[in-house]
Chain length 345, copies 4
Amino acid sequence: MTRPKRGFASDNNAGVHPRVMEALGAANVGHAVAYGDDAYTVRAVGLFRERFGERAEVFFVFGGTGANVAALAAVTRPHHAVVCAETSHVNVDECGAVERLAGCKLLPLAGAGGKLRPEQVEPLLARRGDQHHSQPRVVSVAQATELGTVYTVEELKGLAEFAHREGMLLHVDGARLANAAAHLGVSLEELTAGAGVDVLSFGGAKNGMMYGEAVVFFDPALAEDFRFVRKQCAQLPSKTRFIAAQFAALLEGDLWRETAAHANSRARQLAAELRAIPQVRLTQPVESNAVFAVLPRDAIARVQERFFFYVWNEQTSEVRLMCSYDTTEEDVRELAAAIREALEG
Amino acid sequence: MTRPKRGFASDNNAGVHPRVMEALGAANVGHAVAYGDDAYTVRAVGLFRERFGERAEVFFVFGGTGANVAALAAVTRPHHAVVCAETSHVNVDECGAVERLAGCKLLPLAGAGGKLRPEQVEPLLARRGDQHHSQPRVVSVAQATELGTVYTVEELKGLAEFAHREGMLLHVDGARLANAAAHLGVSLEELTAGAGVDVLSFGGAKNGMMYGEAVVFFDPALAEDFRFVRKQCAQLPSKTRFIAAQFAALLEGDLWRETAAHANSRARQLAAELRAIPQVRLTQPVESNAVFAVLPRDAIARVQERFFFYVWNEQTSEVRLMCSYDTTEEDVRELAAAIREALEG
Amino acid sequence: MTRPKRGFASDNNAGVHPRVMEALGAANVGHAVAYGDDAYTVRAVGLFRERFGERAEVFFVFGGTGANVAALAAVTRPHHAVVCAETSHVNVDECGAVERLAGCKLLPLAGAGGKLRPEQVEPLLARRGDQHHSQPRVVSVAQATELGTVYTVEELKGLAEFAHREGMLLHVDGARLANAAAHLGVSLEELTAGAGVDVLSFGGAKNGMMYGEAVVFFDPALAEDFRFVRKQCAQLPSKTRFIAAQFAALLEGDLWRETAAHANSRARQLAAELRAIPQVRLTQPVESNAVFAVLPRDAIARVQERFFFYVWNEQTSEVRLMCSYDTTEEDVRELAAAIREALEG
Amino acid sequence: MTRPKRGFASDNNAGVHPRVMEALGAANVGHAVAYGDDAYTVRAVGLFRERFGERAEVFFVFGGTGANVAALAAVTRPHHAVVCAETSHVNVDECGAVERLAGCKLLPLAGAGGKLRPEQVEPLLARRGDQHHSQPRVVSVAQATELGTVYTVEELKGLAEFAHREGMLLHVDGARLANAAAHLGVSLEELTAGAGVDVLSFGGAKNGMMYGEAVVFFDPALAEDFRFVRKQCAQLPSKTRFIAAQFAALLEGDLWRETAAHANSRARQLAAELRAIPQVRLTQPVESNAVFAVLPRDAIARVQERFFFYVWNEQTSEVRLMCSYDTTEEDVRELAAAIREALEG
């Protein structure tokens, strides 16, 4: 078997967008001060402020887990708790990084579509002030979620208002914030600062970057000590200009929206194809670049011989199919065809 | 003032070597499985084993602090202590990352040229077995050191033998291992596995890479759980192929030695120029790509108007001048000339 | 309102058993080496080995949270996970101590009567070996549980066999192990070493001691570094003789069983009284010294004016009534009478 | 050899003062709410405020290491550093508890008599604001020090003023604060709140208590979250009344000063005896209950056959001789005689 050029396993499997690659080359000129004190960083931070609002404090870090854990470590103390979805990356996919680096307890909640609602969080506040219990301090949500669903601006506002009323903060894991904004047709600022988000992990690698993530604080007071937290959590890149240049390429001319919208379109195309297959059942609304579907077990194996993707839940025979900025209409048609063939047996 | 293209502040300020840049472009084809299960990683690991020995277990991480702290966390428990030089990066320049992520105490020792000797470490073992005291478990040295000095293979062997005799391990922070190997004219294997090193942080960014570091274990048993430690310490890159491709470029045809030797030569050239200036005093032997020198205080300020570099010690008026893989003979001559002019006042 | 001498809030509210108090006085003679190197400790450890088996490695610590967290920290690394009941003390009542001191993730499971079964744990092992996920290493159960239920020896054996087969360990939070052993009519050894338990927190404070807890390892290899872990977790008492003397008093002549059996009897008496009241519903089997019952909300407030106890669940109007080694038959009758009166309104 | 009733090894080897023992018995009546919500605690806290000032926020914990580490964890974040004496308990004798529980770096300084001076701390502030370096946040001193020396009120004031001017805090490890206050003839308030101390670990075990320590904050804002930190660091005693009762016994009628002054007197008596022996050299001023002396090596061994004490420094043949609240004049005379005999050898 030759592995296909483009699979549906993960948007992390895609390469680097040509315009990002170009920007990396363009930044590779002469010397630039390391650790963020360079012109590329100044420019990228400026672009962030144009997109996310003037109060945004922006810090570049290496990766998504690092962004989440450093962001959460910055706004908590170890006796705090972070409320999150049971299915969230911070809870499931970071090998306990929050517990180790922030020392905090996570309080995971089950929720439809991997989304949290204020009324779910409320009961967790019953023990506030009681010294025996970790004190909820942050509500952390992923936008888009790990199940491909998207919070509306109103839903985020509802969570932020609830959090602030209760003396808590709202953190957004925005590894796929671009896909969410593209889906909703709103600006990055409307979806973050405008919705009351306090701190954001903004990802680039799933949307055409090589590496690099940004932690963005919308209240400068929260950012005060962040440069130390970033360094101590081993998330300070030395040659920062190369992360800055990538983000600049993504933000300039809103390339981020173009690439994210493309990936979302392919997911909708795929969903449409699958809905037409009687033996396949979609399990989540398709609101970003992910399609979740239940397929007959033996068909999965056959399709996997031709396309790389992950089984999400062995027991329910549910698969996750991720589209990327570089997924083509043809790729989607071929996958759908392969599924149909596999089902015909 | 226009900042000069190439300064002497840090080898981290240099850009990416053209052949590394090329390799990044070449790796940017189609999809590749994320998190290390890709052909680029397989190939790079193979090259590591050719250079460092067949038993080497190789793990790619984001950066140097992450490499050090994850390596040390993997081979210690929080009640252990790590013996290191007072001037070492792990002690001084990582904002307490070891303490936070490994939970360990560092036991810093002062030593000539930033180097440790077994007889310095010995007294720290007096309290072994006593429950009140952190138990020394690792000797951590930098090769080359933060002061630009280089351990001979014999010196490393002496430290490794001492460590092993006492039930301890030897860790090498090899952010500039290439410079040390180039200086000594030995292979990477002779300088690590051959010298008894147990675990190595092998750096690329200071020698022409964009980002990326490798943690190399020379005893596979020590590496057993490392993939979890790496992830939990937020050091697992998603698009690993791009770190792998860079390292492959560096190792193939021994580009690493060429670039490191070049930087070392420029440092020797600079040292020769400075030795000829009576008001300047070199403070460390020049064995890698760093030159440490004491200059009259007011001259420093004047030179800094034209070249970017750091004052190492304000009180002694000592500066650190770092050469990079891209420093030219002309750059060095111009710096020396600027110093002479500044001294003439 | 005058607070009654003896309430039903917690077995921690009771004082010190007269024979324990006597032992404290008797140990207060002259000097004794601090930190465990004294004759009282030697003697108490001997008594532990008589009760728990000759392989038991015994370490005295200050308190119950400290015992649990130090025990778990000793047998885990931060990338491990500890599987526990959702209602367990380690999960709910220690303000995140395990997360902070061991750095581990807890994986809480809901279960009838606060008890875990192997088949519940099994699905958590699906992601073993996958670097993105915390690796389950310990099953931690409370015996008796926080809901007053007791694992049979067979149930514990089942958990231990499952754990060992899967390369995991079984930890028992035995803050109320005495109550469980008294309920089952088995020896401490049968209930721990004999059932395959690997490490135990054995509590004294809830059974007549002033303070002090023991961490007991049943495999000496697990205990190897524990004295360092204990000290680093701030759990090493200086005047250890006074904890040793208390435990000796408790173990000698099996006072522990007498006191625990007494408390259990009072709980059964209380349960019998409450079962006779139609408006009261017991919610858990009464197997140790706790009685859980649902009462009409307004009755609770009235009873609390006369007896001190805690509402366990505000929403279901469920209360927890704890009996102690010093609860009298009269106390129980008075409480039952107060409840009946409150219900008559 | 029969070990003598009272040795000179440690004030932790002494037992419990009769009046403290009495207080424990008196507190052992009926039930009292656990975890600090009891009348004994209210009364003890009142006595603390009488002695330490009305703004004192007082929290009882299990032991000295726990007091230090919880106090420091409460007022730092992991990227902070704690400046302390090289010889300090927090640095040397707590097996790395601060590093593990607070995540902080310690910055140990050598100083005459184990004491710190502001001008020593100053150079450590050079790198403030630089993200690569742990940020000094607390100066932690022991009073009396581990070498038996005592800071004058003026010296403490100097440290506090320096710390506050630099945005730092002053922590005092007061395991032997009573001895220091007795030596100086000042009140506890003058020596703490009055001198500008921000947070204090106040010890009882070395001065006649069985166990128990208090963390005292002199600025209520610093204490805000301390009850959570205490619990999460496993330092919250369940039957708090028994620590409260002991402290009340110590503070009432100023028993603490009587016992400490007694121990100090015995140390001065011992020093006088030793000064009269030509082969013995005192190495530290005798300002509390410790005497440090250099003795011929073979004499040490002979004296140790009759009296239990520790060699402080094997290489310099220096011993530490600790007096306790129960050391008698006769004990001291016998020790001095034993030394003289051993020297006549």
